[in-house]
C-alpha cells in the first residue's frame, strides 16, 4: 500500500469529516458574535481555496485575488443597499451627500436582487476571463503575471477610493439592513448565515477537488511543471491558464459576497494589497498543493491574528513574518507536507520488485 496521503478515497473521507466538524459548530456555539466571526473564517477559507487552485495546481501566482473578491463584495453591498431604497427614496444617502441627484446607470440593475446577485459573481468572473485571456495569450507568466495582477489590484483600489459619489470612497458602503432573500431576512449573526457560508464553501471545495482530479486538473499540473512542453502535446496553454484563473476568481467573488452578507459593510480595504498578499501567505503556510491545507492555513493564521494579534500588538506582524520565513525555508509545500511525510513513513513498501522502492520518491501530488 502506498502513501495514504495520496489515496483519493482517504482524501474525500478527510474532507467529509472536516466539513461535518464545521457543520456541527453552531450547535456548540451560543455566542452569536463568535458564530458570525467563525462564519467569516469560511470566507477566508474560500479565498485560500481559490489561491490553492490557481497557484498550487495551476502554477499561476496571483497577488491580485482582491480584485475578484472586492468586485464580488461591492456587488453584494450594492444589492443590499438598493434593497433598502424605496420609491420615494430611490438614491443611497452617500450619493446624495456627494450631490448626485440621479442613480448612476451601473447601479440600476442592482435594484433587482436576483440581477444584483448574478452581477456580483458575473462581473468579477468576466473580468478574470478577459484579463487572464489577454495576459496568457501574450504568454505573460510567472512573476510577470504576478506583477500585472498587483498593478491591476492597485488600479481598482485607486478607482474605487477616488470615485466617491459612485462607490462611497474610503467610507465604503454600509447597507442599513441585512440581506433579504426570497422574503426572508438573513440575520448575519444567525446560524442560517453560518450555514449559507458553509454550504458555499463545501460546494466550492467539492468543485475545486473534482477539477484537480479531472483531465483538466492533470493538464494544469503539467503546465505548472513545464508549460512549453505541454504546448507540443496539443494543449492550448493559454486556454487552460485562463480557465483556472477564472474559476479561481469566481470562487473569490463568492467569498466577497459572503463577507458582505456577514458584516454588512464593504470598503476599499477589501482590495488592499496587504489583504491579497495575506491570502497567498495562508496558502503558502497551510500548503498550496492541498486545498484543505490551504484552508487550514487561512483558519490558523486568521485565528492566531484575532487572538494573539491583540496580545502582541505590533509584534504580531514580526511573529507572522518569522513564521512565514521558517515555513517557506523548511517546508516549501507548507504544513500539509508535514502530514504527507508522516504518512509516507507509515506507508508499507509496495510489493513490486524491491529494487524499485529505494528512496521515498513522492510524486508532487494531486493533493
Amino acid at each position: 500500500m502506498g502513501n495514504l496521503y495520496h489515496n483519493k478515497t482517504a482524501q474525500w473521507l478527510v474532507y467529509t469529516a472536516f466539513f461535518l466538524g464545521l457543520a456541527v459548530i453552531p450547535s456548540f456555539v451560543s455566542d452569536d458574535f463568535l458564530l458570525n466571526q467563525l462564519a467569516t473564517y469560511g470566507v477566508y477559507g474560500m479565498l485560500a481555496l481559490s489561491i490553492s487552485l490557481c497557484w498550487g495546481f495551476g502554477g499561476i501566482l496571483n497577488l491580485g485575488q482582491g480584485i475578484a473578491f472586492g468586485l464580488g463584495a461591492y456587488g453584494m453591498a450594492m444589492t443590499m443597499q438598493m434593497q433598502s431604497q424605496t420609491e420615494s427614496n430611490p438614491i443611497p444617502p452617500f450619493m446624495l451627500n456627494n450631490s448626485l441627484d440621479q442613480l448612476p446607470w451601473f447601479w440600476e440593475p442592482f435594484s433587482n436582487t436576483a440581477a444584483g446577485l448574478i452581477l456580483s459573481i458575473a462581473v468579477p468572473t468576466l473580468f478574470c476571463a478577459i484579463f487572464g485571456g489577454v495576459m496568457f495569450r501574450a504568454r505573460v507568466s510567472g512573476p510577470f503575471f504576478a506583477i500585472m495582477t498587483l498593478a491591476m489590484l492597485s488600479a481598482f483600489y485607486t478607482i474605487i477610493l477616488d470615485r466617491q459619489p459612485y462607490t462611497g470612497g474610503v467610507n465604503g458602503i454600509t447597507p442599513p439592513s441585512p440581506l433579504q432573500l426570497g422574503g426572508f431576512e438573513i440575520d448575519p449573526y444567525s446560524s442560517t448565515a453560518y450555514w449559507i457560508v458553509l454550504a458555499i464553501l463545501v460546494t466550492a471545495t467539492v468543485v475545486a477537488k473534482l477539477i484537480t482530479q479531472s483531465s483538466f486538473g492533470l493538464v494544469t499540473q503539467a503546465i505548472r511543471d513545464d508549460a512549453e512542453r505541454v504546448r507540443f502535446l496539443g494543449y492550448s496553454v493559454a486556454g487552460y491558464e485562463t480557465a483556472i484563473y477564472t474559476i479561481s476568481g469566481a470562487i473569490a467573488a463568492f467569498a466577497g459576497c459572503c463577507l458582505v452578507m456577514l458584516v454588512q459593510y464593504v470598503s476599499p480595504a477589501q482590495l488592499d494589497v496587504g489583504f491579497s498578499l495575506s491570502m497567498v501567505i495562508w496558502a503558502a503556510i497551510g500548503g498550496r498543493l492541498s486545498l484543505l491545507g490551504a484552508m487550514c492555513g487561512a483558519f490558523l493564521i486568521q485565528g492566531a491574528q484575532s487572538y494573539l494579534g491583540d496580545a502582541f500588538l505590533a509584534t504580531w506582524l514580526l511573529i507572522l513574518g518569522g513564521f512565514f520565513i521558517v515555513v517557506v525555508r523548511f517546508l516549501p509545500n507548507g504544513l500539509a507536507s508535514l502530514l504527507e511525510s508522516a504518512l509516507g513513513l507509515l506507508a508499507t513498501k509496495p510489493k513490486t520488485p524491491a529494487a524499485e522502492t529505494n528512496g521515498d520518491a513522492k510524486p508532487l501530488p494531486a493533493e
Partner: protein
Amino acid sequence: MPGLLEIKNLSKSFDATKVINDFSMEVTEGTLCCLVGPNGAGKTTTMDLVTGRIKPTSGAILFAGEDITAKHEHVIARAGIGRKFQVPAVLKNLTVRQNLEVAYSRQTNPFWNLFKFHKAGLKEKLDEIATLAGLTTRLGEQAGILSHGETQWLEIGMVLMQEPRLLLMDEPIAGMTEGEIEKTARIFKDLQKTATLIVVEHDMGFVREIADVVTVMHMGSMLAQGSLQEIEANPRVRDVYLGEKEAA
C-alpha cells in the same frame, strides 16, 4: 505525390545572422528521414520552425497539404506532428503514468476536460507504450528521478501516446546504451509502418541502421539528400561532415 511534409524556401534570421538559408525539403509519407549535419547547421532550428516554436523570416511549411507556417505550437501538434526534444523534456514533478496520460491528448479542449475523469482507451494504450518503453515498473515514480536513458524513453513514450502522423526525434539515442540503441532502431522501424519519422542524429552508425533517406544540412541550407550510399559517396558531404567525423 506530394510529401507529407514540405518545407519551401525556408529562411530564419536572428538579427543579422542567417540560421536557416533558403532551405527546402520534402518528406514522403511512410519514410524515415535522417537529418544530419555538423553542429550549428540548423537542424534543431528547423525542428523549431516546423513545430511552431519559432516563426520563419520567410518561406512556407506544408503538412499534409495544409499550410502550417507560423501556426501556434498546439495547433501544429493537434494536426499530427509530435516532437521529442534534444534535451529530454518530461514533466519532472508528475509521475511517469501522469506524463503518459497527459500526452494522450485526444481531447484538448479545457472545458470538456473539466468533466472528464476517465479517458476511453487510455489504459490499453498506456500499458502498450509503457511496455514498449520498458517503464512498466516505474509508472508510479516521479519523472524527475529517472535516469537519463529512462527519461529519453519516457519522452519517446509520450510522443507515441500522441499517435502523431509525423514524429520529429531530436537526438533520441543520446545517453543510451548499445542495447537500448538497438531497441530504439527496432521501434523506429516498427513505427514506420504507421507514421513518418524525421530523426536528427549525429551517430552515423545509428543513421546507417534506420535511414531510408538522409538529408545533410550545412550552414542552414541543404547540402545533399539521398540514400546513405549516395550521401557517403558525395565529396562535398565528405568535406564538411563525414570527413571531420572520420578524422576525429
